[in-house]
Amino acid sequence: MIEYFLLFLGESIMIFGTLGILRFPDVYTRLHAATKCDTGGAMTILIALAIASEASLLIKLKFLVLAFLIGLINPMVSHAIARGAYKYGIKPEVVVDMYARDNP
């Protein structure tokens, strides 16, 4: 029963993340939606699959290894994209920008 709940939670997190990517104004706020919702949604779905699959324990643990790798790689990629976009010259729509003040 709990795997259906987790699966539903993961799917709805993914849907809201997509909505956030479509609605937010610039690169950085869109990265918020992409990173957090992809990580949380994919990890939740993988945990649900690990509970639901009828396999031995070591094969279930492989799902958790995948979840661990997603949690490790996703924030690094988003950091690389955000920093690259800033260095490329895309100005963020912000109220305060301390990064521009320190790196003129």
Binding site: G17, L19, P75, H79, R83, V94, V96
Partner: protein, 201 residues
Amino acid sequence: MSRVPFYLRERLDEIRQRVLFEAYEAQKLPKWEQIILTWITLFSFWIVISGNTRIENLFIGGITTLVISLLMYEMLTDDIRQSGHIIEKILYISFFAIPQYLFIMAFRLIESNFKVAKHALLMDINPGIVKIKTDLHSDTGITILANSITLTPGTLTLDVNKKLGETYLYVHWISVETLNREIAGEKIKGDIERWLKKIFW
């Protein structure tokens, strides 16, 4: 500090970093403990990924991971600062520190997902880039802290800057609440920095 000439400031920066590094270098783990910690990590990965617990497989995996950990022991455990017996360290890290981190991060991740959903529906965003200070100095510690900040609600790490022996993080915050550096740091970092300071320097 702002009146110091540029060449002197660089020199001071160098000296302070060296003093700090030497102060933490004294509590470094011995070499054989680093090798054992790396070997345990790699061997557990081997068992999970190969998915087969026959005795030949375990034998081959043990020898291979032992050779790898003899060669590359300082990549994984170079920044760990922890005192105590080796068994105490292994038990502390695997049964207390890592579950505590996973427990903190799981709830923060779920909370951040709901927060993104709320922002996407209501569009009540007020973004800004703020600068916070951390007490961590090692590369591994800063990496884990920055990744955790990216996954906690409403924040995304842009860049890291090390200046005069202190580390600063630039964080894109989706709804800026305060510009004060201490309060903002407390709100953004939360428990994670306190957890990281138990293990990394």
